[in-house]
C-alpha cells in the first residue's frame, strides 16, 4: 500500500479563483492511501517544494499527487522535488486542474467537483506507479543545421565556435538564403550583402563546418543525441572539389534564356550558372532541365572550356549517411504566390511586382544594376504605389491569404519608399496600409523619417483594384481617414506579399516528428519559456520557420538555438525516457504482433528456457524490448494479444484505474 501525499496548488488566483482548493484537498484526504493532503499558494515555488520535501520525510510518503498546472509545465519540477526528497521521480503524478479545469470552467462548484475527480484519478494512478530508472545513451557530438540562410549560418557559426562539428544542408546551390537577395536592411540601411557575405565566407572556411549545398535531408531516424540522417546531394554535374568558380563555362553556355530564380525571373541566366557573384560555395551548377547536353547529348561546350576539368555530365545524385546529436531547423520563408490576387493585376502587368522583386530591382547586383526602371519598358517611373498586407491579416479571405501578420512588411515598405525618395526625389510614393506596425528598436523613428523627412504619402486604406490601361496602372483605392475614393495613375505597383513557411518544411516536420501549427510554422516547446526548442527532444528552431521574423530577431533566435545545441552536445551521456515498453516473458508467446507495429524496430525475439510444471525445461520464443531504442508510444501494448506487453508509466492497470476513478 502506498502512502500518498496530495498537494493542491492555488496558482495564486489562477486555480483558486474557480476551484475551491481547500475543498479539493479535503475531499482527496479521504481517498484510500492518502495520508496527507494540503493546499498552498504556489506549489512550484521554493517554499512549496520545500513543503513537499518536508511532508515526504514527516509522513513517510511513497507517492505524490500534485494538483496544479499542466504536467507539460511542471512535471519535471516536481519530479526533481521528489528526487531531492529521496523518492523515485516517477512516483509523482500531476492532476491538471489549471489548463484543463480552472481556466476552462467558470463556475466554482463545477470546477471544484471536476478538480476532485481529476485528483482522484491521479491518486488511483499513483497507487500503481512503480519506481523507474532511466537508461543512458551516448551523444553524437555533431549538429545538423537544415537551411543555409542567415538563421542557419548564424546557428552553425555559434555552434562551431564552441568547438562542435556542424553540417549545413542547403537545398539551393549556394548558402545565403533570402538575405542574400536583399538590398538594404532596416532600420539602419546597411547593405545586406556587406553584412551577410563575410559571414558566408566565415562559415565556409570554419574548420568545424561542412556545407552540403544543393542537398536535401531525405531521411531522419533515431532520437535526441543519436539521429541517423540521410542527406541527398543532388547531382550538379560539376565536381565541387575541382571547380574554381572562374565562370568561363557560364560565359560560353549557349543556352542563355533560363529565368534567373535569384532575380525572381526578372532576367535570364545560362543553363550552367553560379547564382550570384559572392555565392558560397562558388561552384557552377548545371540545370538539367535546360542543358542541351544533358537533355539530348548535343553541346558539351562547358566541358571544353573548363580548364579545371570539373564538368561531369554523368554525375548522379549521391546519398550521404551521417550521425548527429542535435538538429536545427532553419528552413525560412517565402513570399506567397500572387496568383489568387487578381485584383492587383500581378499576372497581367509586369509593372506590378512583389516587394522581394522590388528588392532585386533596387539592388546594385540586380537585373537593372540598381536603377529603378519599369520592368515593362525600362522607363523611369514617376508614381509608385505600395500596397501593404497583401495576403496578410486576411481573416475574411483565408482561402486566399494568411490570417497572421507577416511582421516585416511595414518596415521594408518604409525602407523601400525611403530609398526611392532618397535616390529619385521626383518620384511620388504612396503607401496604402491597414495599420503601420513598428514595434522594434528604432523602428518607429525609421517610419516617421519616411513620412516626415522623405515625404512618403501614407494613406490608411485599401487598394480595391489595379487596372493596366495604356501603359499606366489605374489604381482604385479608398482613403479611410478622409472617407473618399482615390484614383491614382501609377507607373509601378509594389505588393507587400505575405510570407509563408518554405514548402520543404512540412515534409521535414514529418521526418523529424516535430509538430507544426495550422500555418505550417514549426511549433515551439513552450511559446514563452522554450521558444527555440521544438517539442521533439533534440530538434531546435531557428529563424522564420517558427514564425515571421526580421533579421535582428532571426539572428538572436539563431544564437539562442545554438546555445541550446551546445548545452546538449556538451553532455557525454543523456538520460533516456524510462517510460518504455516491456514484455512479461511468462505471458508472451512470441507471435510478433508487437514487433510488426513498432515504428522503431525496438522489439527483437530471443529463445528462452522456461521450467515447466513437470520439471522439464522448454525453449520458448519471447519478445524483448530494447529500452534505448523504444520511444514509449505504447502501440505494441495494444497489438499484444496475450496482454504480455505493457508500458511503464502508462500501464494498462494505471489507465484503467484512471478510467474507473473518473467514472465512479
Amino acid at each position: 500500500m502506498q502512502r500518498i501525499g496530495v498537494f493542491v496548488c492555488w496558482c495564486g488566483s489562477n486555480i483558486a479563483g474557480t476551484v475551491d482548493v481547500k475543498a479539493v484537498a479535503e475531499a482527496l484526504s479521504h481517498e484510500p492511501g492518502v495520508v496527507f493532503s494540503t493546499d498552498y499558494q504556489y506549489m512550484c515555488s521554493q517554499a512549496g517544494q520545500d513543503m513537499i520535501k518536508a511532508s515526504v520525510a514527516e509522513h513517510h510518503l511513497t507517492g505524490i499527487v500534485v494538483c496544479s498546472c499542466s504536467p507539460r509545465m511542471h512535471e519535471a519540477t516536481f519530479r526533481k522535488t521528489a528526487t531531492a526528497a529521496g523518492l523515485n521521480p516517477y512516483m509523482v503524478e500531476i492532476a491538471n486542474i489549471r489548463e484543463q479545469c480552472s481556466w476552462v470552467h467558470k463556475d466554482m462548484p463545477i470546477g471544484t467537483e471536476k478538480a476532485i475527480i481529476l485528483g482522484k484519478a491521479a491518486v488511483a494512478k499513483v497507487h500503481l506507479n512503480a519506481p523507474l530508472t532511466p537508461g543512458e545513451s551516448p551523444v553524437t557530438k555533431r549538429a545538423l543545421v537544415i537551411g543555409g540562410g542567415i538563421a542557419g549560418i548564424q546557428t552553425a557559426l555559434d555552434i562551431a565556435d564552441a568547438g562542435f562539428k556542424v553540417d549545413i544542408v542547403e537545398k539551393k546551390p549556394t548558402i545565403g538564403g533570402k538575405m542574400a537577395q536583399l538590398d538594404k536592411t532596416f532600420p539602419t540601411l546597411d547593405c545586406a550583402a556587406c553584412i551577410l557575405t563575410p559571414k558566408m565566407v566565415d562559415v565556409a572556411q570554419h574548420e568545424n563546418v561542412r556545407i552540403f549545398s544543393y542537398s536535401e535531408v531525405s531521411e531522419v531516424k533515431g532520437f535526441v543525441g543519436n539521429f541517423d540522417v540521410t542527406i541527398k546531394k543532388h547531382a550538379r554535374f560539376v565536381k565541387e572539389d575541382l571547380c574554381t568558380g572562374c565562370g568561363a563555362c557560364v560565359d560560353k553556355c549557349p543556352m542563355k534564356k533560363v529565368p534567373n530564380e535569384f532575380n525572381l525571373g526578372m532576367d535570364n541566366r545560362p543553363a550552367i550558372y553560379i547564382p550570384f557573384a559572392q555565392a558560397v560555395p562558388k561552384v557552377a551548377t548545371i540545370d538539367p532541365a535546360h542543358c542541351n547536353m544533358l537533355k539530348n547529348g548535343k553541346c558539351g561546350l562547358c566541358a571544353r572550356v573548363c580548364t579545371a576539368g570539373a564538368i561531369d555530365y554523368t554525375q548522379q545524385d549521391e546519398y550521404v549517411q551521417e550521425k548527429y546529436g542535435a538538429i536545427v531547423v532553419a528552413t525560412g520563408f517565402n513570399p506567397i504566390s500572387m496568383d489568387k490576387f487578381d485584383e492587383f493585376a500581378y499576372n497581367q502587368s509586369k509593372d506590378v511586382i512583389t516587394s522581394l522583386e522590388f528588392e532585386r530591382l533596387t539592388n546594385a547586383a540586380g537585373p537593372t544594376a540598381g536603377k529603378l526602371l519599369r520592368p515593362s519598358d525600362g522607363a523611369h517611373p514617376h508614381t509608385l504605389v505600395f500596397v501593404q498586407c497583401v495576403g496578410s491579416r486576411c481573416t475574411a479571405c483565408a482561402e486566399k491569404g494568411k490570417e497572421y501578420c507577416s511582421k516585416i512588411c511595414c518596415m521594408y515598405t518604409a525602407k523601400h519608399a525611403m530609398l526611392v525618395r532618397d535616390k529619385y526625389p521626383d518620384v511620388d510614393v504612396y503607401v496604402f496600409y491597414i495599420d503601420v506596425r513598428t514595434p522594434g528598436k528604432n523602428f518607429d523613428e525609421f517610419y516617421r523619417r519616411a513620412v516626415e523627412e522623405y515625404g512618403v504619402k501614407y494613406i490608411k486604406g485599401t487598394v480595391g483594384k489595379v487596372v493596366p490601361e495604356n501603359g499606366v496602372l489605374k489604381v482604385q483605392a479608398s482613403d479611410l481617414l478622409n472617407n473618399k475614393q482615390l484614383h491614382i495613375d501609377a507607373d509601378m505597383v509594389v505588393l507587400a506579399a505575405a510570407i509563408e513557411p518554405d514548402r520543404s518544411a512540412r515534409p521535414l516536420a514529418t521526418m523529424l516528428t516535430a509538430s507544426m501549427d495550422t500555418n505550417d510554422f514549426f511549433t515551439e516547446a513552450h511559446p514563452k519559456l522554450r521558444p527555440v526548442e521544438s517539442p521533439t527532444a533534440g530538434v531546435f528552431l531557428s529563424g522564420a520557420c517558427q514564425g515571421p521574423k526580421d533579421i535582428p530577431e532571426t539572428v538572436s533566435q539563431a544564437g539562442a538555438a545554438a546555445s541550446k545545441v551546445i548545452g546538449l552536445l556538451a553532455k557525454d551521456k543523456l538520460m533516456g525516457n524510462p517510460c518504455v515498453a516491456s514484455s512479461n516473458e511468462a505471458m508472451c508467446n512470441g507471435c510478433s504482433s508487437c514487433a510488426n507495429v513498432c515504428p522503431y524496430g525496438a522489439i527483437t525475439y530471443e529463445d528462452k528456457e522456461f521450467r515447466m510444471p513437470d520439471r522439464t525445461v522448454a525453449l520458448r520464443r519471447v519478445a524483448k524490448v530494447n529500452p534505448a531504442v523504444c520511444q514509449g508510444c505504447g502501440c505494441c501494448t495494444v497489438a499484444c494479444p496475450s496482454g504480455a506487453m505493457d508500458l511503464n508509466g502508462f500501464k494498462n492497470d494505471q489507465i484503467l484505474a484512471e478510467v474507473d476513478a473518473i467514472c465512479k
Partner: protein, 145 residues
C-alpha cells in the same frame, strides 16, 4: 448523471501527450470554455488506447468516449495515429453492433496549436452525447452505487 433534473453526460477523453493534450492546454491558456463533463486522460500516443479502456469506460457508466490524437502524418511516433484510426474503426463498429450508438464515440485529430478546435470539438461532442441521453446498454449495474 442527473443533476437537478438535468442530464449531464460523463465524457472520457483520451488525449495524446504531444498534440491533443497540448491542444487542451492551449484551450486553457486561451480561456476557451467547454463543458466540465469532459475528463481528460493523458496517454503518450493515441495508439496507446486499448479498446478495453473504452469498453471499461462504458461499463463504468461513461456516456461518451472521445479519442484525440495528432493529425495523420504528424504523429510524434510517426505512425501511431494510423493504428488508432484503424483500431477505432473496428471497435466503434463493434460497439454500434452492441447498441452503443456511433455518436457516443469519436476520434478527432487536434494539433498542439488547435486550442480552439479542441474546445469546439468538446462542445460539439458533449452536445451530441447529451442529446442521446444516458448510456444504459453497456453499463455494468454491479458497478453502480
Amino acid at each position: 448523471m442527473q443533476v437537478n433534473g438535468e442530464f449531464k453526460p460523463l465524457i472520457v477523453a483520451f488525449c495524446c501527450n504531444w498534440c491533443s493534450y497540448a491542444g487542451a492546454d492551449l484551450a486553457g491558456n486561451n480561456r476557451l470554455n467547454y463543458p466540465a463533463e469532459v475528463k481528460i486522460i493523458r496517454v503518450p500516443c493515441s495508439c496507446r488506447v486499448n479498446p478495453t479502456f473504452i469498453l471499461r469506460a462504458f461499463q463504468r457508466g461513461a456516456d461518451g468516449v472521445i479519442l484525440c490524437g495528432c493529425h495523420p502524418g504528424d504523429c510524434h511516433y510517426t505512425s501511431g495515429n494510423y493504428y488508432t484510426r484503424r483500431r477505432m474503426a473496428m471497435l466503434f463498429s463493434m460497439l454500434d453492433y452492441l447498441g452503443i450508438e456511433r455518436e457516443r464515440t469519436r476520434v478527432e485529430w487536434v494539433s498542439a496549436a488547435e486550442g480552439a478546435k479542441f474546445a469546439a470539438t468538446m462542445n460539439d461532442f458533449v452536445a451530441q452525447v447529451t442529446a442521446l441521453g444516458e448510456n444504459k446498454r453497456l453499463e455494468d449495474l454491479r458497478c453502480k452505487k
